[in-house]
Amino acid sequence: MADPLVAASRRAVLKGVFVSAFVLGIEFATARVAVAAEQGRGGFPFAPDAFIRLAADGEATLIMPQVEMGQGIYTGLTMLIAEEMDLAMDQISLEAAPASDALYGNPIFKVQATGGSTSMQAWWLPMRQAGASARAMLVAAAARSWKVDPAMLRTEAGEVIHEASGRRAGYGSLAALAALQAVPAEVPLKDPSTFRLIGKSHRRMDTAGKVDGSVRYGIDAMPEGVRFAALAISPVAGGRLISVDEKPARAVAGVEDVLLFDDMIACIASNSWAAMKAIAALEPVWDDGAFAALSTESLRAGLEEAAKGKAVVAKAIGNADAELAKDGTIELAFRFPMLAHAPMEPMNCTVHVRGDECEIWVGTQVMTMTQRAAAEELGIAPERVNVHNHLIGGGFGRRLEVDFVRRAVRVAGRSASPVKIFYSRELDIQSGMYRSIYGTWLSARLENGKPVAWRHRIVGPAIIARWLPPGFDGRIDNDAVDGAAEPPYDFPNFRAEYIRHELPGIPTAFWRGVGPNVNIFSVEVMMDALAEAAGRGPLEFRQDLIRSHPRARQVLDLAARKAGWDTPLPGGGPRRGRGISLQFAFGSYLATIAEVAVDDDGNVAVPRIVTAVDCGVLVNPDQVRSQIEGGVIFGMTAALHSDVTIRAGRVVQSNFHDYRVVRIDEAPQVDVILVESAEKPGGIGEPGTVSVQPAIANAVHAATGQRIVTLPIDRNLLARNRV
């Protein structure tokens, strides 16, 4: 295992979470000390740490280290602080954290990043400690002022109460005195049996502005004097602008400037429409460069070639290779397409460069990376870059990247006004960063109907090596093997191995579900193939192999029961089937049962999904449910539709008409079963996306007999009477 402090994969995270609990004291103390120096910041009389600001009127402002992009984390983190601090939820407002790894770095990544379903895993203890510590200081203040033993005081909904004398004081009235109390070295956390908030569904705190249009995303930032810039970007990665006649763009009413860069063109205008029209009026001549001939076929051929190389072992038990050299080995090879994230809010970033300082308005999953990228482009110190983060109109991994920030800074660096660059949807799809193609090769052998050996080979890029270099040990990308190295099944001989293969000419990135999307799909489809070979049902075959994982067994049984696994599906009409998937990833156990109906043309409909979830403590149960409902639909899109292809170095798809996503008329009924648990929280933003894909594939097999080893599912394979 790599140094746990730099581990950044889900697999490592699982271990890292335990580590975090220990290093947390240090980190949290650092944050406190740093903030203590600027106590009273913003006029708040009580600001005991980086997260809590208490006003004299009792209103609290909590600083959110993680970004809200729909996953409900603002509400979840708030509940953690409010629980331990005994704050009233209706006296809290929230602010996005400024850029600071020291104060707001994700305890798992060590940088200020929201991704990998880590937020609740990372902050479960630090946020509670922050709340408990602040509470202890408020209690100490009341005890001093009333000259009573602090042990005789209790707190509730923003008040300290002394039962014996009937005295009560609102937190606000104690704020100034609390600030003078010593920060407790150690503070006990509540016994979970006394939780008032954690475990009970609480309404999201970010919804009011999202239903009346008043919320401001990055794209809505309108600093005084802002100009709007549309871009043309070299359609081939690494391509260069040779020439362009600027006149047609400059002739568009409202256009103020046309800026040429070696790899892009920016048209700056008084409104977005004029900027877009100006870009459309141009006929730039590009030198496509080294990747002019790149195609999906050449990329796939490169992957196949790389797969013949030597793999590094992520985990081995016994001697799988020897067992798998024997007769009767079952093999499946899986192929995964490139994917775009296509968040509904297109990439955008508003930048004002003033001399040696820079102000940025953006929605980003990576505050400090954004700050550093801008500083680097301008050749100034990161502290000179002031980043205002916003609620995010969809991240899915795309906003873990700062390519668009760099472009915005380059454009704004040549303008006196603040400039908002925004991508058209076409640019979003065609000049994005992509989930890579991946290949996996699985081999297994059965004896007496049980697997005696299992091998899982993954070939694909090491995103972590670029995104968080300290998180890469030079051999294994822990994300790339996540879901392969620690299956919930007991195999006596086991080998998970990895071959790193970087795609030429394609910028690759994390994508909701990350490594487990690829690996758990492979594992779960392979499990169905083995069950078939063993003459067993997919459910009982799995049940037999998870004896050492009671939490896996529980979700599997719950999902099967709820889905009516043993009941017949309606006859007549389209071919119908049910499929199972089971997983342990992101610290959470999920079992999903998909029901599909496949028509004569091979179209797959998914009328129903049942998912049982054990993600440890359910901090905000309704938001766990919501993440599964949405994650399932995100994964359905990947299973059924999404495929970014390359021709002549260019992305072929351009907008939602040819980069199809699931719409409401395809959306299934989603039944979510939540398991009450006292285990520490696991992640929940991504598991549903992962879980649904193999469940659909296995259901399609049940309906049609076609084993699905390539995504998206090719309906031509499923059509009846195909020519």
Binding site: G70, A208, N271, M344, R425
Partner: protein, 151 residues
């Protein structure tokens, strides 16, 4: 100058006649609740009501609006259907990232105004033009039914 009636107010805008309403709302009138998602009427994020009908403002030029009154997300709460949809959306925590929800709410409110008790089929038909990448469709269906029940 073009005169358009938006949210009950007549506004004069200095925009080229071919400018889509979306950009007039966002860049010129400060009504940023209406969202840009695709620019080709494929996603519905920019949905507004024009004389009560849900239209994609990214494809609707200001010269094509004429005298028809425009309602945006900022004012849809003043209509009975809009208010009921917003309330149901809050009660059920329909939203996730929220970016598409202005458009979802505008489409849902228009549906409810024309069909007080839509079933799943009617909901799917009316809402299929609005993409939600977070996948809130399950709750959108539920939200519309709840809003209908409050009618």
């Amino acid at each position: 100058m073009t005169r358009i009636e938006i949210n009950g107010e007549v506004r004069e805008v200095d925009a080229e006649p071919d400018t889509p309403l979306l950009w007039v709302l966002r860049d010129m009138l400060g009504l940023t609740g209406t969202k840009f998602g695709c620019g080709i009427a494929q996603c519905g994020a920019c949905t507004v009501h024009v004389a009560g009908a849900p239209l994609r403002s990214c494809q609707l030029t200001i010269e094509a609006i004429g005298n028809r009154p425009v309602t945006t997300i900022e004012a849809v709460g003043a209509t009975s259907a809009g208010a009921r949809i917003q309330k149901a959306w809050l009660e059920l925590d329909v939203v996730q990232c929220g970016y598409c929800q202005s458009g979802q709410i505008m489409s849902a409110a228009a549906l409810l105004a024309s069909n007080p008790e839509p079933d799943d089929r009617a909901i799917d038909a009316a809402m299929a033009g609005n993409i939600c990448r977070c996948g809130t469709y399950v709750r959108i269906r539920e939200g519309i039914k709840r809003a209908a029940a409050h009618g």
